[in-house]
């Protein structure tokens, strides 16, 4: 794919179609952004983010940051599961242990990690429960709107190269990842996640030690985290301490029964019901978002406005984005901005000049290169994962 060769310097979002127009048309913060009156709070190394929970921290990115192609480190969302999170790491003592069903055990310092070939690519990180608060009937859990995601340029070592150095033995089934976080009481299951071996040795799986050219922020997983581009962030274990190769299918709590989706093509069940069979959630589905104009904005009749937004899918480039201003009756193809590779989101825009006053419903729908798109009605599942319904943004033209 050549995405590893992509240079960070190509990140010039101002050149992207739409961004300039948008900045001009919507200088400042869109109104109505904080409609649900959610509190903003500043955590270490972070800007003001929407507070979902404080201990452990779950912080959501305000939508206006998604006007940018790359999400700044201080604005990237935060999601921990267990209250005992690392708040201090001494790199002179920190080691990434690698072992289990391997020829040898490794204890890698940060310097050792940096000796492996460095790879870099831009990839969307998105929480499985992003958009959970939109499901009907409502679902208990993190009440995210659209801000549990971001587009970040990650750098680090290939997991494959590390596993090769350790020497994976035949008969290996899963690779298990453990971070420095732990449960506050003994019975709370430690947060461990696993990848099938075949997935773990794919070229693009990374042990990342940099985000956007800087060391990871503590709340995003300093000193190193797993990056599984195209898959939901539940696998992207933060503040890694140990990687263990196992010869049996790993099915502890956070793999089963947690983070499961219905085992059928739509990963859905009739709203309110339970699936007979489930599988672990894995690859992200296709999504697009309208970032501007924001819901409830007032636009002027006969003046052109750039409708703009973002689109991404789980590892397959976006083929096209279509936009409607009449609630889905007619559609036009949007212009797409810089292509940062198949794991990144793209920015899109569509210039619109409303010639009549009234209420309008703006919608956008993305399709990826293997034909995956977005549903008109939401597909419901009991955990509130994989929200990707076509969103509607109502605006007023006066």
């Amino acid at each position: 794919m050549g995405i590893n060769d992509m240079e960070f310097s190509r990140r010039d979002f101002l050149k992207t179609a739409g961004a300039v127009g948008l900045a001009a048309a919507f200088g400042g913060f869109p109104s109505g952004l904080f409609a649900e009156e959610r509190r903003l709070y500043k955590f270490p190394e972070k800007t003001d983010l929407i507070l979902l929970t404080s201990r452990p921290p779950q912080l959501e990115t305000p939508l206006h940051y998604f006007k940018e192609l790359i999400t700044p480190n201080n604005a990237l969302f935060v999601r921990w599961h267990l209250a005992d999170i690392p708040t201090s790491v001494d790199l002179s003592k920190w080691r990434l242990k690698v072992g289990g069903n391997t020829d040898r055990g490794l204890e890698l310092s940060m310097d050792d990690l940096k000796k492996f070939e460095r790879i870099t690519y831009t990839a969307v990180i998105q929480c499985s429960g992003n958009g959970r608060s939109f499901f009907k009937p409502r679902i208990a859990g993190g009440q995210w709107q659209n801000g549990a995601m971001g587009n970040v340029t990650w750098s680090g070592a290939r997991l494959k190269d590390i596993l090769k150095q350790a020497g994976i033995r035949s008969g290996s089934v899963d690779v298990v990842f453990d971070g420095l976080d732990s449960g506050p009481l003994p019975k709370v299951p430690d947060f461990l996640k696993s990848l099938p071996v075949d997935k773990a040795i794919e070229d693009d799986i990374m042990i990342a030690y940099e985000m956007n050219g800087e060391p990871l922020t503590m709340l995003n997983g300093f000193p190193a985290r797993l990056v599984v581009p195209g898959w939901f962030a539940t696998y992207w274990v933060k503040a890694l301490r140990e990687i263990t190769v196992v010869s049996k299918k790993y099915e502890e709590f956070w793999m089963k029964p947690a983070y499961r989706i219905p085992d059928n093509p739509c990963a859905c069940v009739p709203p309110g019901s339970k699936p007979d069979k489930t599988v672990p959630i894995t690859r992200m589905n296709t999504r697009s978002l309208v970032i501007g104009p924001s819901a409830g904005s007032t636009l002027k009749v006969n003046s052109a406005v750039d409708i703009m937004g973002i689109a991404f899918s789980g590892g397959y480039s976006i083929k096209d984005v279509i936009v409607s201003v009449d609630g889905g009756k007619s559609w036009r193809e949007a212009r797409c901005g810089t292509d940062m590779g198949r794991y990144s989101w793209i920015q899109w825009s569509h210039t619109w000049k409303p010639v009549e006053k009234g209420k309008y419903t703006i919608m956008a729908r993305a399709t990826n290169s293997i034909g995956e798109s977005q549903p008109i009605e939401s597909l419901w599942n009991p955990s509130g994962y994989m929200w990707n319904k076509i969103e509607s943004v109502e605006v007023n033209v006066v």
């Binding site: 929970t53 404080s54 201990r55 708040t87 201090s88 790491v89 002179s92 993190g142 449960g183």
Partner: protein, 111 residues
């Protein structure tokens, strides 16, 4: 008796929060540290608030409760039982009934 249990639960959570947010004295360049803000969660008034504030603040902040949409009583009941059975919340039968009643009447969706 009941207030003693609540006090113990409170103590556990206070000690835990302190451990987690204590400033770290070491300062070599290899060390990266942050100090997490301590944010007081606010629960609405109602019978059972004290039990809820004590037991449901041990493992996580009570905004885990307050961020939820209004949920039906059986969902609150399922959540409290999950905390006890799956995560080992040290809540006895009596207190769990009090907490479920509080959650269903204060943060409930009605029938």
């Amino acid at each position: 008796m009941k207030s003693i249990i609540i006090l113990i639960a409170l103590l556990i959570s206070v000690v835990f929060i302190r451990l987690n947010t204590e400033a770290i004295a070491e300062d070599t360049s290899a060390v990266k540290s942050i100090i997490l803000p301590v944010i007081e969660g606010e629960l609405k008034e109602g019978a059972g608030k004290d039990e809820t504030a004590a037991f449901c603040n041990i493992c996580h902040s009570t905004d885990y409760i307050t961020m939820q949409p209004r949920l039906p009583a059986d969902t609150w009941s399922a959540i409290v039982h999950k905390m006890i059975v799956v995560y080992g919340a040290p809540v006895n039968e009596d207190d769990s009934r009090t907490i479920i009643n509080y959650l269903s009447s204060t943060y409930g969706a009605g029938k």
